[in-house]
Amino acid sequence: MSKLVRLEIDGKPVEVPAGTLVINAAKTVGIEIPAFCYYDGLTLQGACRMCLVEVEKSPKLVTACTLAAAEGMVVRTQTPQVVQARKAMLEFLLTNHPLDCPVCDKGGECELQDLTFRYGLGESRFLETKVHVPEKQWSAVVYYDAPRCILCYRCVRICKEGMGVSALAVVSRAVDSEIAPNMGDHLYCDECGMCIDICPVGALTSQDYRYQTRPWEMKHVGTICTHCADGCTTTLGVYNNRVIRGNNHDRTGLNGEFLCVKGRYAHDFIAHSERLKCPLMRVDGKLVEVSWSQALAEVAARFGGIRSRGGKFGVIGSTRTTNEENWYLQKFAREGLGTGNIDHHRSGDVISLLSALKGRADALAATSDLYERKAALVIGSDLAQQHPLVAFQLRANWRHHESHIYTVTRGPVREDAYSRLRVRAEAGRELAAAKSLRQALQAEPELLILFGDCVRGAAVHELVEFGDSLGIPVRYICLVDYVNSRGAMDMGLTPGLLPGYQPAAAPGLDLAGMLAAADLDALWVVGANPLKNAALAAERAFVVVQDLFLTETAARADIVLPAACAYEKTGTVTNVCGEVQRLSRAVTTMGAKPDLEIFRSLAARMGLDLGEPETDRVYAEMRRQLPVPAAGEAARGVVASAGDTLFTSGTLGRYCGVLRNVREAPGGLYQ
């Protein structure tokens, strides 16, 4: 904690740590100093001159965004001179700014509008004609309208500093200055849309939202992004039961202002034309549309029959369904169907990590550690591609706190640009390579270790032993693929472990085992696509699939039940750091049902009593019954990441048009 300094702003005494900028010091006592170019966490510009204030003993007005609070400083933000200066700056900004606010996407949530309303002149004295420059499209999702641009350089900075991409720069000079993309007339970048989000005006706009609606016409629903495991909040703008846009402009999530291309744009699968809206049943070898009651009755009857004759079930759960659904599904399998054959696609060996840590809960890192810990070791992951929020936070930590990053990867990664040491390791050699960093790591005061699927099983135990041997506090993050990959394990969607990683009395078949079991009588797949790259050995097995789309697995099913997606349901999901967050329902798709509702209907039809299947009740039951994770069991079955990039998202990614349209972007891992 740095030393406190006392100063006075508009007569109010203020006490802040030395070095605090006056613009932020003022906030602590409820005084707004307007600014465009200032943005928390990005480098200082002093460019927009909106934050000019009077400081005693200074002959000129001073920018509050570049001025550090000092002991005894006397600041005035409301004097006639300051008020006049703000009016002048706004008048300047509006000289060439088109007043197309009624049709501008930003109208209604535009900082220039807002500050003009609060601090501006009623009219402009600018009588010259405004210079028009045609709008430019820079990528499938980014548009730039130069006359609207007020040159605050936020986009340039968030791209360079925040994202580490540097796809934007200022070109020309004087009044001709404008922002330009890195490829001359187009962008080659992450297509994250951070530049659009951070733009205070309507200079940068996004393809999905352009001219769609007005911000006040939308319902804004903050929920958790359904793609990767980082657990970002995306605030979905909903109009007429349609998701128009995603952003995190309100900074409500643990992602702060951050969102990647998926969180921002890849919600278009919701309204994809191939979305299943009616149950399908195989009749004469072909899937035909049937009613929900018909489909459910068929499943209940077949499941009931197989159960009563002691048949063999296989249940494959999802990495995108909620904890409540997963809890309920494993209960359904174990108690309702009497099978221990339950698994899901595991992408990281959390199980071995928990086992190796032997209950040391403080050795599991939280998302906040990414920004706060003094050093981090990344093993076997291209974070910018696979875990964009993790990458963003580590980069922010390095920028703001000069934290040390170490990387052990198969190929080049973005972290190379600022990592303290980097090691290239062939697949399978990652752990050994990480150990070669011992000397440097030992010198760190603390360490965060992030590891991908290349470290699994015994290697995880070895890694934890290595961590323990460093003699410094170490926290771990086991990187997993999807929004609830972690939750699927927590909730016991594994053959050997019950919820809370309690050993099962009689471990069942794992995923591969189920697919290979020729005597399987029924396979129930909830939100997964195991048959994408594998065959089902039991040709005669009765297959039930709950999904959004007719995937390879659904196409093999006897009954397909159209499921609601994460944006259409409530419940909780658990991110890569084990943080449990709530989903909010943004829209509904007629005909599709949340998986939990499907389970409930099936249970009812089968006469099973599995507890109250309301999301909140299941959550309460989970809270009551879920033991503290304390596994002793080593992982069984396959652990492999799907290797998604920024522009893929498992099977779901196929139905995200935007992800396939941003072709200019660098897509592969380790490039």
Partner: protein, 437 residues
């Protein structure tokens, strides 16, 4: 011979070698006392050198007039980082053409001054940043640096003293803003000439984020004389607090325009009539821009003034970079104001709002106004817009654009009124023919 005859009224200290055969050569330099000051300085402590410069009352010749010795004193000697000496040869202030001559005719004087500055602050490398248009000057400087290095006046071990100092010449590529010290450093480091947030000032974090002394060419060029003859002797040439001589660039409506080295405090009217040979055609004096285009214009009746930093500040103008632009009775002040604003609007780096938008607005207003399409309220608007820029920009370029504009409007309002509503410029047709060379 340089571009103009010297004047008998000149006090030639920095320009004393101008006109000598081969004045830029090391031999000529050595034959006329060259590098004596460096030898002397090698026997002095850094503190003594800085003290001598302070004693000389040498004030920065780039325009701001900051005391050079004080500036050198700001460099933290105990910093572990390397230190640098940078010479600003980005001469671009309209009305100013003196640094060019100092570099062209006496490059070794500049190099010697920089080496002494290096000794004073503990720097071992210096950069001369020269505007891109001065290509031939760059060649002269590079030759001089080679010569000096060849004979041990530069290099790893100067004159066997153990002190090492290298000089590099860097070209600009067309940007007035790069004359602003922090923008110059950005350009030197290969970036757009956009100024830096200050503090930190260059003395603490300048070139390559290291402590840096940054002065104008003329400032460094004065240093050898100061060390050689002593600070007091240099100070005595000028007025109190305004030490030494200064190169005045007389241009505009004069019989004998030229660059003349005169003592600080020299009377402006005498400068015009006795040094500059008066106004051609017996025309009357209307106005003078006393220190380059950023300095508020003086009306004829204000011109009986001592040309030093303090006297001009008292008259609400500036000594600036020594560019004295003389305008006779036939000059249209609206046209002059417009042309100057064209310049600032073109040269604004575009970084901050008031300068970028304000200079463009003023440019368009003044164009329209001069074309006879202005209204009475526009006259006040011109002043208002300029005042809205004044004191609020990121760097001094905004003030440089605003100050002269405010002065033109305030002092020559009648001429602005004479342009109102469709009236042709009253000075049209009185435009002069170019004088025969």
């Amino acid at each position: 011979m340089p571009y103009n005859e010297p004047s008998p009224l000149e006090v030639k200290v920095l320009t004393r070698r101008f006109g000598l055969a081969d004045s830029a050569s090391l031999d000529t330099y050595l034959a006329t006392g060259g590098y004596e000051a460096l030898k002397k300085a090698l026997g002095m402590t850094p503190g003594e050198i800085i003290e001598e410069v302070k004693l000389s009352n040498l004030r920065g010749r780039g325009g701001a007039g900051f005391p050079a010795g004080t500036k050198w004193g700001f460099v933290p000697r105990d910093s572990a980082r390397p230190k640098y000496v940078v010479a600003n040869g980005d001469e671009g202030e309209p009305g100013t053409c003196k640094d060019r001559l100092l570099m062209e005719y006496d490059p070794h004087q500049l190099i010697e001054g920089m080496a002494i500055a290096g000794l004073a602050v503990g720097a071992h490398a210096g950069y001369i940043y020269v505007r891109g248009e001065f290509r031939y000057i760059i060649r002269i400087l590079e030759r001089a640096v080679e010569e000096a290095r060849g004979r041990g006046y530069l290099g790893g071990n100067i004159l066997g003293s153990g002190f090492g100092f290298e000089v590099y010449v860097q070209s600009g590529a067309g940007s007035y803003e790069c004359g602003e010290e922090s923008a110059l450093l950005e350009s030197l480091e290969g970036r757009r000439g956009v100024p830096r947030i200050r503090p930190p000032f260059p003395a603490v974090s300048g070139a390559f984020q290291s402590p840096t002394v940054l002065n104008n060419i003329e400032t460094y060029s004065a240093v050898p004389a100061i060390i050689r003859e002593g600070g007091a002797a240099f100070a005595a040439l000028g007025t109190p607090r305004n030490g030494g001589t200064r190169l005045f660039c007389l241009s505009g409506h004069l019989n004998k325009p030229g660059v003349y080295e005169l003592p600080m405090g020299f009377n402006l009217l005498r400068m015009i009539h006795e040094v500059g040979g008066g106004i051609p055609g017996g025309k009357r004096l209307k106005a003078v821009i006393p220190g380059g285009s950023s300095c508020p214009v003086l009306k004829a009746e204000e011109c009986d003034i001592a040309m030093d930093f303090d006297s001009l500040a008292k008259a609400k103008s500036m000594l600036g970079s020594g560019g004295v632009v003389v305008m006779d009775e036939d000059t249209c002040m609206v046209q002059a104001a417009r042309r100057i604003m064209e310049f600032y609007a073109h040269e604004s780096c575009g970084w901050c709002v008031p300068c970028r938008e304000g200079t463009n607005w003023l440019r368009r207003l003044l164009r329209r106004f001069h074309a006879g399409e202005g209204s009475r309220s526009d006259i006040d608007l011109i002043g208002d817009v300029a005042r809205n820029i004044l004191g609020r920009t990121f760097c001094p370029l905004g003030d440089a654009a605003a100050m002269p504009t405010i002065a033109f409007v305030e002092k020559f309002r009648d001429e602005f009124e004479a342009h109102l509503e469709g009236r042709p410029c009253p000075f049209e047709g009185r435009r002069r023919e170019v004088p025969a060379p």
